[in-house]
Each structure stands twice: as structure tokens, then as C-alpha cells.
């Protein structure tokens, strides 16, 4: 299997890789601008991010080196491994801004909640692939995937990382809807979800998380505390105007007004400096990745490949949508990176692994069964 098949190289998807490289270049350039005026010691974030990208390409190589179909067999091992990491980080992780999200690996601080997203995609794809009856799932058949999603969901919520936990449920909903549900199941699930949201508001959310949501609903009430991020980000995006303020000339970012500007708010820097035109260009490139991914899903030679690709694409898409919507003030502030664009090793490497899965499915679409 490790023998390199010439057909595999012929079918390698250079388009997808090209899109990823373009997004990567925009990311590095944007990070350079984000920290341009800030004094910092040690390696600048754009250099670090470049290392992560290089690391990510090696991950892609590793992921495409085996047939994706082995993931069906591997998935519970992966699942158990990631859950253990999550538990480990919960008890041993480094506290960062009052949250326990990190595991220090020495050269790299891993945020296990990031691989957990991809792990869930693989797990659900495997499960639905095995169980699909073609007639739609009943509620009883959904108990297992709900539990499979629920365990990492609760562990991550406990960290607390509302954004990632939310992402897991988005992946679950997207993939479950994709494999088709029975109507009664759908209705029951929606009722359940509604009551779950109510419960989590009362018992699970930490005060700062509640406040963020409350602020979002009424941002003017508390401009300087929770509303600050939203207000500043909207000012950055809006003041960009049609053509932007020019690269390295965004005042909001350069003068420190934007918090977290290299991570979750990276897009506001871009929008401020490149304006409406530049942002549309960004959308065009970025969402072509999504649609190309869906194209791969549709062209897969088997259902597992399709499910995997849909899962990976929905994972990237929902993160991107929520992040950009949040930056532009139409969704509350939750910790949610813009995949491939926000600074952060864990997110980037996870996303690159996801890209690797897409490439993997693509290059093996004509391959004979094992």
C-alpha cells in the first residue's frame, strides 16, 4: 500500500492544493500587517504561522499516504485517543485566560479540542456509513452518534470553549441531516435541541459566555466591556470602505484597537485594509475551497468518502461562516477561528489534515477496491 501508485499522482488534486496555498499566502501577509506596529519579543506570529503551514503540508502528505477507507476501521481508536487528550487537557492543561485548552508538547502547544472536531467527522462518517439503511434514521439509531458527539461536546464545554463545542454540534447536525432522517426523528431532535439550549443557558454556560451573548443581543448597552470587541471590529470592517485603507495602513489594527486581531479577528484586519473589493476577493478564493470540497464529495467513488468530505467541508464552512459573521457583528463573539486564516497551530494543522482527507478521497476516486 505504501508503494506509490502512478495513478495516484496523476489524480492528485493540484487545484485544491493551489487554493490552500493562496489562502495561506493571504494569511501570512495579513498576520504580518496585524502585528506590524506591535512591539513583540521572540518569533513573530506570521513566521510561526509559516512553520505551522509547512508542518501542515507534511500532515497532508501523511494523510494522503494511506487509503482513507482505513479510517472506517481506525475510527474508534482515534476517537478514544482524542477523548483521552481532552480529559488530560482538562486536568493538566495550561490555564490560558481562565480556560484549560492547551497541552504543552514542548515544541508545540496542542489544543486537543481542534483535532476533536476532525475526529468527530471521521467517527460520524464511519458510523453513518456502517449503519445507513437508506430509509432514513430512526431516533433509536441516533442514540449512538448522539452519545459519540455528546462526550467530546461536554468535555470541551467544560474547558470552557463554547465555540468549539458549538462546532461539534454543527458538524453533528450537518452530517446527520445529510444522511437523511425520518421526519418524526427530526421533529423529536429539534424539540430536544431546543430544551438543551435552555438547559445549557441555565446550568452550563459560564457568566462571561452568557454576557457575550447578551451583549451581542444589545451591543450598545455595554460598549466598553463585552461589546468592545464587536464594536471595534465593526468599526474596522466598516471604515475599510469600498477599497480599504491599504495594506499596513489599517488604523484600527495598527493602533491596537482590535483585540485578538491576529487570531479570531484576523478577517477584520483584512477587510479594513482591502475594503469591500478585497473582501469579495477573499470570499471568492475562500469559498471556492468549500465548493471544490463539495465537488470532491460528489465525485467520491463510495459513500464513506462522500460523508467524510461533507463532514470536513461543513466543519470548515461553519467555522468560517460563524467567524466572519461574528467579526461583522451579526453573531455573538465566541472563540471561533477562521480556518487557514486565523493564527493558531492547532486549528491550522487540524484543517490541513482535513484538506489531506479531501485530497485523499479525490486521488483515490478511480482506484480499484482494495
Amino acid at each position: 500500500m505504501l508503494k506509490i501508485d502512478r495513478r495516484l499522482l496523476q489524480n492528485f488534486d493540484w487545484v485544491l492544493l493551489g487554493i490552500v496555498v493562496i489562502i495561506g499566502a493571504m494569511c501570512i501577509a495579513n498576520l504580518y500587517s496585524a502585528v506590524y506596529s506591535a512591539q513583540s519579543y521572540g518569533t513573530p506570529v506570521y513566521i510561526k504561522q509559516l512553520y505551522y503551514f509547512i508542518m501542515g503540508f507534511f500532515i497532508i502528505l501523511a494523510v494522503i499516504s494511506f487509503d482513507y477507507r482505513f479510517l472506517v476501521e481506525m475510527n474508534y481508536t482515534l476517537y478514544a485517543g482524542v477523548i483521552l487528550l481532552l480529559i488530560f487537557s482538562l486536568f493538566m492543561g495550561q490555564a490560558h485566560a481562565d480556560t484549560q485548552r492547551w497541552i504543552d508538547l514542548g515544541f508545540f502547544r496542542l489544543q486537543p479540542s481542534e483535532p476533536a472536531k476532525l475526529m468527530l467527522v471521521i467517527t460520524l462518517a464511519s458510523y453513518y456509513y456502517r449503519k445507513d439503511t437508506g430509509k432514513g434514521f430512526t431516533l433509536k439509531e441516533l442514540i449512538v452518534p448522539i452519545i459519540l458527539t455528546g462526550i467530546p461536546f461536554l468535555l470541551i464545554l467544560k474547558q470552557p470553549d463554547l465555540g468549539t463545542a458549538l462546532m461539534l454540534s454543527f458538524v453533528f447536525v450537518s452530517m446527520t441531516l445529510f444522511v437523511k432522517l425520518r421526519l418524526t426523528t427530526l421533529a423529536t431532535l429539534m424539540t430536544l435541541a431546543a430544551s438543551l439550549i435552555g438547559l445549557s443557558w441555565n446550568f452550563l454556560l459560564k457568566p462571561y459566555q452568557k454576557r457575550r451573548i447578551e451583549t451581542f443581543l444589545n451591543p450598545d448597552a455595554d460598549v466598553l466591556n463585552s461589546g468592545y470587541h464587536i464594536t471595534q471590529s465593526k468599526i474596522a470592517v466598516g471604515s475599510g470602505g469600498p477599497f480599504g485603507k491599504g495594506y499596513l495602513h489599517g488604523t484600527q489594527g495598527q493602533l491596537d484597537f482590535l483585540p485578538e486581531r491576529h487570531t479570531d479577528f484576523a478577517f477584520s484586519i483584512w477587510a479594513e485594509e482591502w475594503g469591500f473589493v478585497g473582501s469579495l476577493f477573499f470570499f471568492a478564493v475562500y469559498f471556492s475551497l468549500i465548493f471544490w470540497g463539495l465537488n470532491i464529495a460528489a465525485s467520491s467513488r463510495d459513500k464513506f468518502g462522500t460523508l467524510l468530505c461533507v463532514g470536513v467541508v461543513s466543519l470548515i464552512f461553519w467555522q468560517a461562516f460563524i467567524n466572519i459573521a461574528m467579526v461583522m457583528g451579526i453573531l455573538p463573539v465566541v472563540g471561533m477561528p477562521l480556518p487557514l486564516f486565523s493564527y493558531g497551530g492547532s486549528s491550522l494543522i487540524t484543517t490541513m489534515a482535513g484538506i489531506g482527507i479531501l485530497l485523499n478521497v479525490r486521488m483515490r476516486r478511480y482506484q480499484a477496491p482494495i
Binding site: Y228, P242, P259
Partner: protein, 618 residues
């Protein structure tokens, strides 16, 4: 890998894959919808609302601080600085510059030793401003507080110290009514001004010369524009416009005379005025009691204000131009002039005074119960202030003729001083009574008017001006408070020349006859004004005792036994030197009792001050 699973993977179900392809298409549609939401929002922010956010971004980083110009000084006629400036330190707070404003305010509450609720209350009272506009947290903080805040500026983002020039009263409350005070501009006043010149927390002259010469004193504000980062730390200065200091105004007031006058009036209420006979320049213009100017610096408290309103000595009333009193015997100058001019009397006309004057069966008493004797001529009548003599003149001349001479001497009309709210006094005529009282004139009323009682009202400044006209043979001048306006280097920008506003009816002959009477009043053995007599300077003057009420029960009672509010007002108006008049001093002591004894010594002290200076100069 189990056999079954591999079989499953290796046998793709084409039909099922077609279904999945359809679902992928559906997924694309859903995602496009969501992307459309993002594009619409992006368009809204960057195209539709772009101007709004552009402005917000500018205000986010650019801070503008106004630099208030040092206000001009107020100098006395010898360039002594009466009012100057001292720096007053205010604590400013810019909301936008703090990430955690509550924490900063908590710290400030500790530093300023004020309750959080007070601070929040002040912020609220500032009204709705954008968050980048500085709010004054506290005014006039101590040096120690300023030093502490400056040293801890890094821990207090958004807190700034503003140094504002504030008034320093080098002579205390001296001349408080002329100088006036500054206070925070009101919303109404703000609307009247050009917005560039004033802002909400600015001080503006509210009274007196501070108000009238606001434009000259104020100067022009400067401003400092600089860029800040999110921590409110200055990144770079973008623009600096130095303020233009205000002009100094030089008063005609001699601060020594003014001080002497106010010392003499300590504990009493009334007015002291000294005017240059030949120019109309005011050397003293003092209303007692003084206003406590320091109380106005950072806004007068309700309690202090109420105290002033309820004070029986009415400190808020400027008695020199707003107090209207019966001119009493000082009015005899008018009556005498009318008598001489109308030919009713000559200098040698004798009118006997047996203590009263009879008209239509009614007795009008002279102040001296047993009369001034058989031979009372003009000089004696003036010197001893014989009422009966002037009753006769008044009766002969008539009220309307008296009014003409009164007006020609400046009574019944505003003097035209620049100070605000001057009252015009009252010179009654038959017409006036008919119009206002809807009654005919009673002949007996002329009797009262001829000795300055009855309907007659005059302000101390009018009496002063009348005395000036008498002393300079009939010239009426506009009372002048200012000598010059100077810029910061002392260069004169504007000077104020004497301005004659009228001429009294009468020739030097009549005036000198009346002046002889005034001279006798101070210098003759029975003169009413002998208390104003100076050692080596000849003084001439006229006393007056204005009845407040006419009550039989207080008729022969000692003044100390009469309740203050029923006591007579005491007048004394004089000039010196008698043979070549230079200066007029007019004194009114409210409820002071007899003019000669209450007001005379005050006038004397002020004259002494004036001539002392002249002597040392020689």
C-alpha cells in the same frame, strides 16, 4: 479489516451515490445562501455605512484636547494686578481609552476620595457625549493628587489632568460688583455662542466686567490633536495650536481708595463712589457688602446662594447703580439751582424758618424742630440743610420745573455706565403721576419733592454725577470704569477718553453760589457735613438723610433703638479741593441714620486716601 466491511466498501452502490450527489447539490444551495448573508452584511458595513464607520474610526484614535487661553488680567489705574490667573487642575476621563472603565473609576474614587455614586452622578450629568469626549471627573484638585495621577498614568488609562487657568483674586473681594465672576457656561449661553469658541465645561463671565469684556479677556483657545492607541497612550502629536492669551483691562479704579472705602463700609450696606471731576473716571465704585468671589470659582453652592439671597444687607444688589433711594437733602442742589435760575431766589433772599411750613392748613416740618431763625439765606440753607427754605422754592417753582433741572443734572436717567442692570431712578412730574398713578398732582407733594423725598428716587452714581456737574460748572460725563485695554506685552490696544453726555442748565455763577453753600456745610460751625472736614484740604459737600418710613413712634427715638430696616438712609456727597475741584466722593449708607454722621466719615477717609497719594507723588 473484517471481511464484511471490506465487501461493503468494495461494492459501491451506484444508485445510492446518485442520491448523495443530489444532497451535495442541496448542501451547495444552503451554503450559498449563508454566503449571501455575509456578502450583504459586508456591503452594508463597507459601502452603505462606510462613512459612519470611517468617522468612528477617526474618533477612535484621534483625540482632541482644547487648551484654554490664559484670561486677561484686570489692573487698577496704576497697573496693579487686581485679578490674575492661577492654574486649576481638573481630572479628565476619556471612556474610550479604558478597556475596563469600571476598574479605573473605582481607582479614581479612591484617589479622589469620593464616593463612586458621586462620580457616576457627575458623569451622568454631563449628558450624552460620544465616548471619546473627555468628561471632567473633578475640578480643582490638589497638587498632590495631580502628582499621584501623573505618576500612575499607566495604571489609569483614559485619565488625564487638565490645567485650566482660573481666577486669582489678589485683593480678595475688593470691587467684587464691578469685576463680577466666572462660572460654567450654561446650555442656553452655549447656544448663543459660536460653537468653536466655547465648549460645555468652559467658564464664562457671568457678571460685571468679566461678563462685559468677556470677548477681550477671554483670548482664543488652542488645541492639541494627537493619536492614541487602545490604551489611551499617546502615539504621536498631530497638531498643536497655541492659545492666544486674552487682553488685560486697565480700570480707572484706584485700588487703595477702593479698599479704604470697603474697609469703612465693613459690616454696613451701601455705596461709595469717587469720580474724577474733569473726566468722569471712576476711582472708586464700591457696593457693600462685597460678594464672596471665591465661592463662585467652581460653581456656587445652593447654600451659599441662599445665604446671599436672604442676607438683609443684600450683597447681590449693586447699590451704586441698582440701589434707588430718595436723594433727600442732596436734592437741594437741584432745588437751589431751579430757584436761582427761575429767579425765585437770589443769594441774598432771606426766608425765615420757624420749624415748619404751612400749606393749605397742613404743616410741613423742618428737620430742626425749632427752626433756623429769621434770617436764612441760600448759603445758610445749604449749610444747615434748612427744609423750610427749599419748601418755599419748590412751591414757587413747581414740580415740573424742578424736574427739568433735576434731569439736566442727570437724575431720572441712566448714567450710561457700562455695567449692566443700571437703574434710572425717578424724577416725578405731574404727567408722570397722572400716567402711572392715575391721580392728579397734590401741591403738598411738591413740598416733599423739593427736599428730595416723596416720589424722588436716585442711585448713588446719579448723585455722584450730579455733584460732578456742580463741581465742574455743569458738565455731565459718562462714568468710566476703564482706562485702557492692553495686550499681553503691555501694549495699549484701546484707550478710553472722557465722554461728555450732557450739560446742566445753569451758569458758573449759579453753580458757584451753590458750591459756596456746600463749602459752608462742611466748614461753617453749624454745617451738617463737618465730619468730612480734612486737615489741609478744603472739602465741600452736602448731607442727606432719606426717610425710609415716616413713623411718628420713631420720631424722637435714638437711632440705635430703631429697628435697622426703619432707620433712615444716610447720604453724603462732596468734592475737593473746594476752590479747584478734582474729585467727587459720594457715600450712601443704607439705614445709616443721619447723613453727616454716618456717611461723612466714609467720604472723608476716601478723600484722605486720594490726597495722601497726591502728596507723596509731589
Amino acid at each position: 479489516m473484517s471481511r464484511r466491511l471490506l465487501d461493503q466498501i468494495n461494492t459501491p452502490d451506484e444508485e445510492e451515490l446518485t442520491v448523495l450527489k443530489k444532497r451535495v447539490e442541496l448542501t451547495i444551495i444552503i451554503m450559498v445562501t449563508f454566503i449571501a448573508i455575509l456578502v450583504v452584511r459586508l456591503w452594508y458595513l463597507q459601502i452603505n455605512q462606510s462613512d459612519l464607520y470611517h468617522e468612528k474610526a477617526l474618533n477612535n484614535r484621534v483625540r482632541k484636547l482644547q487648551i484654554i487661553a490664559p484670561r486677561g488680567n484686570i489692573l487698577d489705574r496704576y497697573n496693579r494686578i487686581i485679578i490674575s490667573n492661577r492654574p486649576l487642575f481638573n481630572v479628565l476621563w476619556i471612556r474610550d481609552d479604558a478597556e475596563d472603565p469600571d476598574l479605573v473609576l473605582k481607582q479614581m474614587s479612591h484617589i479622589l476620595k469620593e464616593d463612586m455614586s458621586d462620580i457616576l452622578g457627575r458623569i451622568r450629568s454631563e449628558g450624552n457625549h460620544p465616548n471619546y469626549v473627555p468628561i471632567r471627573l473633578k475640578e480643582d484638585v490638589t497638587w498632590e493628587t495631580v502628582a499621584f495621577i501623573e505618576n500612575h498614568s499607566l495604571e489609569l488609562p483614559g485619565i488625564r489632568i487638565e490645567a485650566v487657568p482660573s481666577r486669582k483674586y489678589n485683593y480678595g473681594n475688593l470691587g467684587s460688583h464691578i469685576i463680577g465672576y466666572l462660572a460654567q457656561i450654561t446650555k442656553k449661553e452655549l447656544k448663543k455662542q459660536k460653537s468653536a469658541d466655547y465648549s460645555g465645561a468652559d467658564q464664562i463671565g457671568k457678571m460685571g466686567l468679566e461678563k462685559i469684556y468677556e470677548k477681550e479677556l477671554r483670548g482664543e483657545k488652542g488645541e492639541r490633536i494627537f493619536e492614541v492607541n487602545v490604551h489611551g497612550l499617546e502615539q504621536q502629536q498631530l497638531k498643536l495650536v497655541e492659545p492666544l492669551p486674552g487682553h488685560d483691562i486697565q480700570l480707572s479704579i484706584d485700588i487703595d481708595m477702593q479698599r479704604k472705602a470697603e474697609e469703612m463700609m465693613q459690616g454696613r450696606s451701601g455705596a461709595v463712589i469717587a469720580m474724577d471731576v474733569n473726566t468722569g473716571e471712576l476711582l472708586t465704585l464700591s457696593s457693600s457688602p462685597q460678594l464672596k468671589l471665591e465661592q463662585f470659582i467652581s460653581g456656587i453652592s445652593q447654600k451659599n446662594w441662599d445665604n446671599m439671597l436672604n442676607d438683609p444687607l443684600t450683597p447681590l444688589l449693586d447699590k451704586t447703580i441698582q440701589g434707588q433711594y430718595p436723594p433727600a437733602s442732596t436734592y437741594k442742589i437741584v432745588t437751589a439751582l431751579a430757584g436761582l435760575m427761575e429767579g425765585v431766589i437770589t443769594p441774598s433772599t432771606n426766608i425765615p424758618c420757624y420749624g415748619s411750613f404751612k400749606l393749605h392748613g397742613r404743616r410741613y416740618g423742618c428737620w430742626k424742630k425749632w427752626g433756623h431763625g429769621k434770617h436764612v439765606n441760600l448759603k445758610k440753607a445749604m449749610a444747615e440743610s434748612c427744609d423750610v427754605y427749599f419748601y418755599h422754592i419748590g412751591q414757587e417753582v413747581g414740580v415740573d420745573k424742578l424736574a427739568i433741572y433735576a434731569r439736566s443734572l442727570g437724575l431720572g436717567e441712566k448714567t450710561g455706565i457700562i455695567l449692566e442692570n443700571e437703574k434710572s431712578g425717578l424724577v416725578p412730574t405731574k404727567k408722570w403721576k397722572h400716567r402711572v398713578k392715575k391721580e392728579g398732582w397734590q401741591q403738598g407733594e411738591t413740598v416733599s419733592v423739593s427736599i428730595g423725598q416723596g416720589f424722588n428716587l436716585a442711585t448713588p452714581l446719579q448723585i455722584c454725577l450730579m455733584t460732578v456737574a456742580l463741581a465742574n460748572n455743569g458738565k455731565l460725563y459718562r462714568p468710566q470704569l476703564l482706562k485702557a485695554i492692553k495686550d499681553q506685552d503691555g501694549t495699549t490696544i484701546q484707550t478710553f477718553l472722557p465722554e461728555q453726555t450732557g450739560t446742566a442748565f445753569g451758569s458758573p455763577k449759579e453753580f458757584s453760589l451753590i458750591r459756596a453753600g456746600l463749602y459752608a456745610a462742611v466748614n461753617a460751625p453749624h454745617g451738617t457735613g463737618i465730619k468730612a472736614k480734612l486737615k489741609d484740604i478744603k472739602v465741600a459737600g452736602k448731607t442727606g438723610t432719606a426717610q425710609v418710613v415716616h413713623l411718628e413712634r420713631y420720631k424722637d427715638v435714638e437711632i440705635e433703638d430703631i429697628p435697622r430696616k426703619y432707620r433712615d438712609h444716610a447720604w453724603f456727597t462732596c468734592y475737593a479741593p473746594a476752590d479747584k475741584p478734582e474729585i467727587v466722593v459720594t457715600v450712601l449708607v443704607e439705614h445709616g441714620g443721619h447723613g453727616g454722621s454716618a456717611a461723612g466719615p466714609v467720604a472723608k477717609a476716601v478723600l484722605e486716601e486720594y490726597f495722601k497719594k497726591k502728596k507723596t507723588k509731589k
